[in-house]
Symmetry: D2
Subunit: 132 residues, 4 copies
């Protein structure tokens, strides 16, 4: 199951090269994951209130084409490899049919105090169903 | 007493107009206040661990001249009007002798849970001495 | 005429106090102005290709209440005082009926090379009509 | 040759999990590369004025430990594989002796109008000498 989120590029996203600053694509990816997770009925605010967060432990990103001010982008998110305390997201950023960025993101469930934690069973089930 | 912090402008700070994005000046100001506070022996990390934070409740900023990539800027910070639960910072951003930005920033002491709080006496004394 | 833009708060917007970092509200305001301008048929990408940009020369912002992760905010934008080379925006950020931020923003039309420029007549007319 | 840059963590860098937001590490890496390049006598502002920029085309980052407010971090940068139109940076972020992040970054020389470009000979020579 692939989730799609539409994003507009604003001035804040660009740099003096006239394109989206490379680090800002990671924010776009995180917005995509946040909305994909929400679409599965997972409430990250409640998770955090309960002391758990998902943290990024690995990013692999290929920048294929630049994005520009005023572009409407689509962030695609597909979850995979849902394990006891970690999962993986395969993501792309597109403009029209064009691929601008491809990324593989490794995520871990952590307590807000720092240690790794098992993903709560209901959340894991929802992610696993989406990953199937 | 005026505190000065030197800051370099990086790609991340610029936008497609080729200058520092206006919101990023507020980050520079906050770096200046953080270092000015540290120079007074106030430990904001310990404050927060104790449940207190300074929050911005008002900003007045005049943008006089643009800053550009690679510029070395100086952020000047002067505290004033230190009261029971609030204080004020008068700040400037300069490049060489040129004034780029002038700002008046109102700050309040808050508990991390949200309500206004009195500034601890030792911290208030240090700020008041600097403001004198 | 008041323009409204809906914005979701993501992780990237928050800071360690658990709320939206104060400088990021300025980004939200700029997104609001960008969409308000677009709704008037003004194409800022074309303006910039033609060598003109709107720049912020003054911000006055009152932070009334914090915004939090996952909040859905509304940015309201109303243009005023449209002159030959400058204009003004009165803006608010709301959550439900609650006012979180009130801001007055002064904008100037500039050439990308730096000097002040007259706002092109058709763009000025569109802004003036919205401000009326 | 490994270049080291010291960086302080400010409020702007953190997120509501109380740690440095993952995308902001990419900014730290870019500050490290900017200063490493400057230390080699390469003037990126002049390069850009001449129509050339280095752009990131690939990032591989492993997040090993979180960074927190007030931390003093060191960004290490080592250039490698300097070719006609591209180069590579191996980077680490450390706190004291602890490794927080390891990254491999692929960079390409591009014209500001978008196409790949050869790295000017003197700049290539400086990078190659540092990479040796």
């Amino acid at each position: 199951m692939t989730h799609s989120l539409s994003i507009r590029v604003y001035y804040e996203d660009t740099d003096m090269a006239g394109v989206v600053y490379h680090a800002n694509f990671l924010r776009f990816l995180e917005r995509g994951r946040s909305e994909a997770v929400r679409a599965l009925g997972i409430d990250q605010a409640a998770m955090r209130a309960g002391g758990l967060v998902f943290v990024v432990h690995r990013v692999e990103a290929d920048y294929l084409r630049p994005a520009r001010y005023d572009d409407t982008l689509v962030v695609e998110t597909r979850f995979a490899r849902v394990r006891g305390a970690s999962l993986h997201a395969s993501q792309r950023v597109l403009r029209g049919g064009e691929e601008l960025l491809r990324a593989e993101v490794g995520l871990a469930c952590m307590s807000v105090d720092g240690g790794p934690q098992r993903i709560p069973a209901d959340i894991r089930a929802a992610l696993a169903a989406a990953a199937a």
